[in-house]
């Protein structure tokens, strides 16, 4: 790919990118959110057409008219958001758009054979062709997408942030699959925020910044810090900025809290000015715990004590009034109303101060909102802009800002840095540290262990709905956390 350029409206997403992919290599594409990684790969896979530039595949000019033609030429992409039809079977999803047919009728046996061949490469026999896709785990769904790519003779396979929703175990199995594909001569392009992963799986890498390729080479020749410097264009002296804060009186206390299935009896105490980390694998019940505390999921037994007042069962509305705020892990689906404005999203949970007899004073709200956006350092054109137009990091700042705007003292943060680039992550850490310094209490759920160890005061591991002892973060070793999380160590 040479000189690839693409403009979306007023944004120049790509400004003349060059990229060279060799047969049978794993090539990592790294860069901050908005650097143009996904756009570049959409150009490669035919989903987006470039304004300028040329591509060659096997020394022949390559200009796919759409994703289907790209797949026919052997280029397939697996998106970050899964693109399966949930109601259809695995088989129907794998051959969607490429069904073997005769006079418009499906050739059942032929399709089954092709799908079985593709699934065989995955070496996941539990994925059965006639299973409905909506019944599969996210990891299995992702593999179905890989199988879809394998249906045609794939030469280049693009994986966009494939591990962002996977457990460590599933990620390991995915890496094994990537290696098998490499052995078959497939070129795998690997987009990721996780440099640990890049160093583990990739042979070579290219860094994109502001729509340009700014460097690359053999992964082995570069240190992680060097790659980060290339990505952000400045040296990142501190990945986890520390804001000094002091731990005060207990603010939130859980006693043997149990939900319908998860969690299964969790007790912990969260203090003012404390950041308490909750580690664990997907399905351990971390999200369920936060939801139960916030009143979104039913509480079966146990107590939730806020400010020394016990109220095991409450609605989210009552919890908000008690000063609890929840940041959803699913920013796009649940956390934000993407098509609504930044101002709306920031103030949804507390419109009271701008209302009088049910009327909303938009003028007063606009003034308050622009003040907040400044404090949160949200980069946007206009507070009335749809929040969905912002980058992931800025969206997350708006989502976090809503909790602050509603005056929450206890912040339940579920994966606050998911889908956020390295630079914005540091800003979010600083924001969280600043909140603790103001005396707020933070419960920080994350699947990214380095950030928990870097940011939290104390840390606990949730596994199968039960909580490990809570210990100062400095006393945890990563291996120990993983041992608890995967259940190989008992509490």
């Amino acid at each position: 790919m040479t000189g690839i350029a693409k403009r979306f409206g007023s944004t120049q997403a790509l400004r003349g990118v060059a990229l060279e992919l060799r047969p049978g290599e794993v090539h990592a594409l790294v860069g901050e959110n908005g650097a143009g990684k996904s756009t570049l790969m959409k150009v490669l896979s035919g989903a987006v057409r470039a304004d300028a530039g040329a591509m060659t595949l096997d020394d022949r000019p390559y200009a796919p008219s759409g994703p289907l033609e790209a797949r026919r030429r052997g280029v397939a992409m697996i998106y970050q958001e899964l693109t399966l039809a949930p109601h259809l079977s695995v088989e129907a999803n794998v051959c969607l758009g490429l069904e073997a047919r005769r006079f418009g009728f499906l050739r059942g046996a032929e399709n089954r054979r092709r799908v079985a061949e593709a699934l065989a490469v995955l070496e996941h026999p539990e994925i059965r062709p006639e299973e409905r896709v909506s019944r599969l785990s996210p990891a299995a769904q992702q593999l179905v997408e890989v199988a879809r790519a394998l249906l045609l003779d794939v030469r280049v396979l693009v994986l966009d942030e494939p591990t962002s929703s996977l457990t460590q175990e599933d990620a390991r199995r995915l890496f094994a699959l990537v290696r098998r594909l490499r052995e078959r001569g497939v070129t795998v392009v690997y987009i990721s925020h996780f440099l640990e992963e890049v160093q583990e799986i990739a042979d070579r890498f290219t860094v994109l910044r502001d729509g340009q390729s700014v460097g690359g080479g053999n992964v082995g020749d570069f240190s992680r810090d060097h790659i980060i410097e290339l990505m952000v264009g400045r040296s990142l002296t501190e990945q986890f900025p520390h804001v000094p804060h002091t731990i005060g009186a207990p603010l939130l206390e859980l006693r043997d809290l149990a939900g319908v299935e998860l969690p299964r009896g969790v007790s912990l105490t969260l203090h003012r000015g404390e950041i308490l980390g909750l580690a664990g694998i997907v399905g351990a019940g971390r999200t369920e715990l936060l939801r139960a505390v916030f009143g979104l999921d039913p509480v079966r037994r146990g107590e939730v004590i806020v400010n020394a007042l016990s109220s095991p069962r409450a609605t989210p509305r009552q919890r908000i009034a008690q000063g609890i705020g929840l940041l959803s892990e699913d920013r796009k689906g649940e956390g934000l109303a993407l098509s609504q404005s930044i101002a709306d999203n920031l103030t949804y949970s507390r419109l009271g101060p701008y209302g009088r007899f049910g009327w909303l004073s938009l003028r007063r709200r606009a003034a308050a909102v622009s003040d907040w956006l400044e404090r949160l350092r949200v980069r946007c054109r206009d507070p009335e802009q749809a929040v969905g137009e912002l980058s992931g990091g800025n969206q997350q700042k708006v989502a976090l800002g809503r909790l602050l705007h509603q005056g929450a003292d206890v912040l339940l943060l579920d994966e606050p840095t998911r889908g956020v680039d390295v630079g914005s992550k540091a800003e979010i850490y600083r924001l969280i540290g600043g909140l603790a310094a103001q005396g707020k209490a933070v419960l920080f759920v994350s699947s990214y262990l380095p950030e928990l160890l870097g940011v939290c005061d104390r840390l606990a591991v949730l596994a199968r709905g039960r909580l490990s002892p809570v210990r100062p973060a400095a006393e945890w070793a990563p291996e120990q956390v993983m041992a608890y999380a995967t259940g190989s160590a008992e509490f």
Binding site: L84, L98, I127, S137
Partner: protein, 338 residues
């Protein structure tokens, strides 16, 4: 994630269990009612089965079209008006062709395809407007609902068009009578059953059917996989229109007239039947068998209520309750199954 093959087949039946329970419930209700009040023998009889099925043949035909549309994530509100328009168009063509050829058979041969064609044309228009103008199906078919209604009144000159004296063809009577001495069910029911089989095969064994579910389940994915979403949509609405056309011709035979008031409110009955039959209004879900069960539930209600001498308004209330209760039941089952 793991499961045994038995449960897969089981799950297919499970999806139908909602409508089956619904039907069993409604049947049980009336059986008990008739057992107490008397007249059970009259309710459970071959003759009543003929009447019961006969009464819903138009609904069934239109529901097949609506099923295609709903599975693909769309909606068609124009069904009732299009049926009315088809009855009028069929009668006009019949009278015209009779004048030209003087033969009832020839006139019928011209009128029936013309009527079905008018339905198809309405469906085609819906599909083209939805895909080209990118207007929501709800709005486009709401527009068609009004336009087709107006067109029907205009073409009919504001009156109900009856057959000219001694010009009524014989087949109309056989379609209008419940049951048959030779084939048990009347031809209208057989047409509905045959088309139901065709639509079932189409949904299950053809590429078009597969795309229908794919578009309803996740349109963006379908597009990404190279499914010709727009073209498929136009075909779906056209097929639905043709099925509505057939429903219209059967309605024409039932009314023995070109009646611009025919089919009033049919679209809602039809959507109710499809939804009671387990289809999801958000698309990607629904089967022919379920839809037929949905139609049967409505048929039993209709029939049972008329035997009970309960006022018709009670029937409407009961249908409303059943739609909501049935959907709630299937939602609850789905949650439990997950």
């Amino acid at each position: 994630m793991t499961s045994d093959p038995k449960s897969l087949a089981g799950r297919r039946w499970f999806a139908l269990s909602g409508p089956v329970i619904g039907l069993a419930g409604v049947l049980a209700l009336f059986l008990v009612l008739f057992a107490i009040r008397g007249g059970l023998g009259r309710f459970v009889s071959a003759a009543n089965l003929q009447i019961l099925v006969h009464g819903e043949r138009v609904t069934a035909l239109a529901a097949l079209g609506a099923l295609l549309v709903i599975v693909s994530g769309g909606i068609d509100l124009s069904i009732g008006s299009v049926v009315a328009l088809v009855t009028v168009a069929t009668m006009l063509v019949y009278i015209w062709a009779l004048g030209v050829t003087g033969s009832k058979a020839m006139a019928s041969l011209a009128a029936v395809p013309a009527g079905i064609g008018v339905g198809g044309l309405c469906g085609l228009t819906n599909g083209v407007l939805i895909t080209r103008l990118r207007v929501a199906p709800f709005v486009v078919t709401l527009g068609m609902y009004s336009a087709a209604h107006g067109l029907a009144i205009w073409l009919a000159g504001g009156v109900i068009l009856n057959f000219p004296v001694n010009a009524q063809p014989g087949w109309v009577d056989t379609f209008a009578t419940a049951g048959s001495d030779y084939t048990f069910f009347d031809p209208g029911v057989w047409v509905a059953l045959a088309l139901a089989g065709t639509v079932a095969v189409l949904l299950r064994y053809t590429v078009l059917g597969r795309y229908c579910y794919a578009i309803g389940s996740n349109e963006a994915t379908a597009r990404l996989c190279g499914v010709p979403v727009e073209r498929t949509r136009v075909v779906i609405y056209t097929l639905a229109g043709l099925l509505t056309g057939v429903a219209g011709v059967v309605m024409f035979a039932k009314m023995k007239a070109g009646d611009h008031t025919a089919g009033k409110g049919l679209e809602l009955t039809v959507i109710a039947a499809v939804v009671i039959g387990g289809a999801s209004l958000s698309g990607g879900q629904g089967t022919v068998l379920g839809t037929l069960l949905g139609v049967l539930i409505l048929a039993v209600l209709d029939n049972g209520v008329s035997y009970c001498n309960v006022p018709v308004e009670v029937q409407y209330i009961v249908i409303g309750v059943i739609i909501v209760a049935n959907t709630a039941l299937s939602q609850w089952q789905r949650r439990r199954a997950e």
